[in-house]
């Protein structure tokens, strides 16, 4: 038995080595080792609502029911004042230069006489002797032929030195104090200086003894000096009956008397006289120039001054009186008197506070004009002055700083531009990276205005939307504004709503633009009513308007893409810093669970881009990481949509990191039902999410 046992054991031990299952050559033991466990770790969690991410402010409004609106306001979108349309400050520019014209001067006279003795001395000696013989006797008066009497000189006339008369006469009155009739009497006056005849001779054909006869010399266009002489020629038929012949005691008298004298120029004494017809008819007009096409018929003035400047270009002293007959102050026409010294200028102001100007009284021009009456009294104050009918008086009138109560008239079809007013969304960086379908369903533009122009006004509101280099122009509407019924009603407010029913506003907002520029024009009297000048402008008239763009977050998105390219932040700047070898990672996966309370779904793709080679090195794409939540008929979310997404990033992705210098993110968004219906955004919408990371490193080691 013992032997058996030993043999049994020995056989067992011998046969054992024959049962070698495997040979392990430890001389060839590989020193490579690796660990590749798959680790999961929660990464990020969140429960965030829209109101957590963004705060309500003046632009982003959360209503009581949490509905979200975006509101842009511009309080002074339009601010047009009178001066933007009309320049009524300086609409009066009156400048007239008046010539004084002829002046009336005082009369002058003189007297010379010839005795019979002087007369007969000019006869032939025989006849002279006859008369001498008959002197003192009563006999028949001998006849004598036409005889030129000795030239006589009148005394100096005191009221002028010389004058060119425009009009006037010198009456030559001859008195025959002889006892015989005279005939063929001619009197010729001469300016002593130069012995220049003055006018035509005065002819008296016959004068009976004791009679006086007058003949006139027309002085028109004649220059008369103040020293005249007369040459008389006379004849007598004698008498048949004896008459007393007195050589010394009888004779003839030649008296000259000027009348109706109007001097054109000269050195004269101008007696005080009023010139009421400056400019011609005595009534002048002051024109108002409010601008082309504007027709003012009435002005009610609060405050203002008529500024006038009168320049005297004469040696006459003047007193100018101006009256505005249709400019009433306290019911009375405004007038003013100004005294001017010779060759002086006077500048003064005439207040026209609380006055009314009626510019409609001139029949042929019932607007923009007021009549002005003016007369001037001139005088040389007894001095001989140089005078010319061309002497001028210049009158300049300005209407300074008028403070109107109101102005009535027709203010034509003035158009003024307003804007451009830029509304910047301040998210151009985002908007310029968006493409695809985005539609804001119901934006509203409210135009609130205050109008104190009692004039029909039509506002043409336009908008241009800009998005990078793209531009679209939209006419948002032509708005006829309400206007007050002047003059009693001074101001009126109103508003106008522009929405999808009356404009292309939704298309503008849905570009979407990174900025919107609003501009337009405001035209007075869009329909010409020149024949019904019932416009009123008040002193403080202005057209102001505020604008409010209300964009309710009622939208639809259909494949709206946001694309952004950033530098590859996964690639370290310094190769030495790169302790991460893609070979160390088998894969990485992001497990994302979301409960999306927003009615919009999002899918993401991430592309590693090599800009040098211009190729995509690797792409990570996901299905919807957020599914859009369902909505009710009003567009409000009913319950959140759950989704679970796994985003796997493999080794090939990490291999591509070093070769790519850019990362392109593309987010694609769709609202509920593929963006075919409107959804509403509320600030209490939430997203709950948890993101976990699944990482499978592939750590390789090599034992030394």
């Amino acid at each position: 038995m013992k032997t058996f046992a030993k043999i049994f054991i020995l056989v067992l031990l011998i046969t054992v080595p024959a049962c070698i299952r495997e040979t392990y050559d430890f001389d060839k033991l590989s020193k490579m080792a690796h660990l590749s466990p798959t680790w999961v770790v929660p990464a990020v969690k969140g429960d965030v609502s829209l109101s957590d991410l963004v705060e309500a402010n003046d632009t982003l409004i959360f209503e009581e029911d949490n509905f979200v609106r975006i509101i842009f306001r511009e309080n002074s979108f339009i601010d047009l004042k009178i001066e933007d349309y009309y320049d009524l400050n300086d609409m009066v520019s009156f400048s007239e230069t008046y010539q004084l014209g002829r002046m009336n001067v005082s009369s002058f006279s003189g007297n010379i006489s010839y005795t019979l003795d002087r007369i007969t001395r000019r006869l032939n000696p025989a006849l002279r002797a006859q008369f001498v013989a008959l002197n003192g006797t009563t006999s028949a008066f001998p006849s004598f032929p036409v005889t030129v009497l000795q030239e006589g000189t009148y005394s100096l006339f005191p009221n002028f030195e010389y004058a060119l008369f425009d009009e006037g006469f010198i009456d030559v009155k001859v008195t025959n104090n002889l006892t015989a009739p005279l005939q063929n009497l001619s009197v010729t006056l001469f300016n002593t200086a130069g012995h220049i005849p003055v006018g035509d001779p005065a002819i008296i054909p016959f004068i009976n003894p004791g009679e006086t006869r007058i003949a006139s010399i027309d002085l028109a266009d004649r220059t008369v000096r103040n020293s005249l002489s007369a040459i008389v020629t006379v004849s007598s038929p004698g008498t048949t009956s004896p008459v007393y012949i007195d050589l010394a005691g009888s004779g003839i008298e030649i008296a000259v008397t000027a009348r109706d004298l109007w001097v054109r120029s000269g050195r004269i004494v101008v007696p005080p006289q009023t010139i009421s017809a400056l400019g011609g008819d005595g009534v002048d007009t002051i024109g108002f120039d409010p601008g082309s096409g504007t027709q003012i018929s009435y002005i009610s003035m609060n405050r203002g001054d008529l500024s006038y400047t009168i320049r005297s270009g004469t040696e006459l002293s003047s007193i100018l009186s101006v009256t505005l007959p249709t400019t009433l102050k306290s019911g009375l026409p405004i007038s003013n008197t100004v005294a001017l010294d010779p060759n002086t200028t006077v500048s003064e102001k005439l207040p026209v506070d609380n006055s009314v100007f009626d510019l409609s009284t001139i029949q042929d021009h019932p607007y923009n004009m007021i009549p002005v009456k003016h007369e001037i009294t001139v005088s040389s104050n007894g001095r001989i002055i140089n005078f010319s009918s061309h002497d001028e008086v210049q009158i300049d009138i300005r209407f300074l700083d008028p403070d109107f109560d109101y102005v009535k008239g027709y203010f034509c079809q003035e158009t003024e531009s307003f804007g451009p007013e830029t509304f910047d969304t301040e998210i151009s960086d985002i908007i310029n990276k968006i493409s695809g379908g985005l539609y804001f369903s119901n934006p509203v533009l409210t135009f609130n205005y205050s109008n104190s122009f009692s004039i029909p006004v039509e506002v043409d509101l336009r908008a241009s939307g800009y998005r990078s280099a793209e531009r679209t122009d939209h006419q948002l509407g032509k708005i006829s504004l309400k206007f007050p019924a002047g003059p009693a009603e001074r101001d009126i407010t109103g508003s106008f709503v522009i929405n999808k029913t009356n404009s292309t506003l939704p298309d503008l907002i849905s570009m979407p633009p990174d900025r919107v520029i609003l501009y337009g024009t405001a035209q007075m009297n869009p329909v010409s009513s020149v024949n019904s000048p019932g416009n009123y402008i008040f002193g403080n008239s202005r057209l102001s308007a505020s604008l409010e763009i209300d964009i309710p977050m009622e939208i639809r998105m259909n494949n709206l893409q946001f694309t952004d390219t950033v530098g590859n932040f996964l690639r370290p700047d310094n190769e030495d810093d790169n302790q991460f070898d893609p070979a160390d990672l088998d894969f990485m996966q992001i497990n994302l669970y979301t409960e999306n309370g927003f009615p919009a779904g999002v899918s993401v793709s991430l592309v590693l881009y090599d800009s040098e080679e211009e190729i995509n090195r690797a792409t990570v794409e996901t299905d919807e990481i957020l599914k859009p939540a369902p909505v009710d008929s009003e567009g409000r979310v009913t319950l959140p949509a759950e989704s679970t997404t796994k985003i796997r990033i493999g080794r090939e992705f990490w291999d591509a990191v070093d070769q790519s210098d850019s990362i392109i993110f593309v987010f694609t968004m769709n609202t509920t039902d593929g963006g075919l219906k409107d959804v509403k955004i509320y600030s209490d919408y939430r997203i709950r999410f948890t993101a976990g990371l699944v990482v499978k490193p592939d750590l390789k080691f090599k034992a030394e």
């Binding site: 013992k2 466990p37 680790w39 990020v44 969690k45 965030v48 957590d52």
Partner: protein, 490 residues
Amino acid sequence: MTRKLCNSLIFLLTLAIANAGAQNSQVLYYMNIPQNHFLNPALRPSNSVYIGLPGISGVNVNINNNFFNFSDIFEVSKQGDSTISLFHPDYDISKFTSKLKDMNYLEPQAAVQLFGLGFSAGRDLYIFLDVNERVEMDLALPGDMLKLAFEGNEQFAGKTIDLNSLRTNVSYYREAGLGFSKDITRILRLGIKGKLLFGVANVSLDNKALSVTVQDDFTHTVDADLMANISAPVGFYMNDDNIIDSVSFDEDRFETTSGISDYLLETGNPGFSLDIGAELRLTEKIHFSAAVTDLGFIKWKRDISNIAAESQFEFSGVDFEDVYNGDKTFEEVGEEILDSLKNSFHMTDSDIPYRTNLPLGVSFGASYSPSGSFTLGLLSYTRITGNQFREALTLSANLNLGNAFSTTLTYTTANYRYDNLGFGLAFRLGFFQFYALADRIPITWNKILNDGESIPLPENFNTIHARLGMNLVFGNNVKRKNDKPMIIFQ
């Protein structure tokens, strides 16, 4: 010459094989060697006296593991040109992890009998005394932990990583036992052995709770309540964050031989254990036996360090709210989380004495001896460590020839293996009794080539238990029956 050569070969080969052994050898139970009272104090050998000499009478090495073998660690590459380990990229780790159990244990143990004495006193009283030096390690690794290390935690999403059964206990102690066995009745024999235990060093982990729950959303909840108890000349130093900053070994105490011996012979960690056994000889041929062994504990009081770690921590990711509120950046939130994690572990350092229990063994055996020298045996051995029960069932065929030769062939199911063939051999030369046994004889082998040498290794390591030794045995003669029958039928 041939005999000596064979013996030498057997001895050497056995040594080669004996790189492991189970403390409680199923093979040993029915063998006629004095050491079988280790398994059941009611068992007694056939010799009257035995003496065990230090280091010679018994060297026992035992490695049990239930989750890996050599071929699980190494394999030949597919190309066949190299040997790769389980850490090699070409190694399919799932091959290894699929074999992991819920509880994976590794129990290397070693024991050296320093002294043994057993003798019969009177007709049926047997007294025995032995001193053993024992080093035991009990490492229980939850399968989830190993899977976590090799495969990561993804597989645990929606589950709890149950690490409550993580356990470790490394003890180095000396036992001095005194016992006796006696027939209580004609058929019943009882045995009892009390052992004084002297702990030398210990590291044990008291795991009240350790789990990590991973939700479907990857939220991690860590629940930890651990206490590491150490009785050893080491010091732990905490930093301001209450994290162990450094560990130092008190080398000064071991610079001299006396220092070493003082440390080894210190009795500052006392303990006690009890072995109780019974044998019921139902008939001459049919015997039943039962035993409870190592019912005891050690109180560790010397060079104590207790490191307690408690944590209740939940990590569900960075809360985005802090980021979008602008209060914090991602980096700051991440740092806060790490700080919370660190701070969630409340570590305390104390020096409170503690107690460890010995692994309890419960045996039930039944044998049938169709003849006086041949016995068929059935043995159930249950090892209870904490809440862990491990069962081994052994069928044995035992041959005992004149108390001079004893051999046993066993078949054991244990450690999830059903191919454990064990063999034991004991033979006596005069009063020198040599024995060697192995609970599992490797049927299949692997060959290791290293530096020109070829080393055979068993293919499977699940149960490696070998014991060998030499006893001095006296009083080995088999008593013949010399009484006459009372009734003679003619």
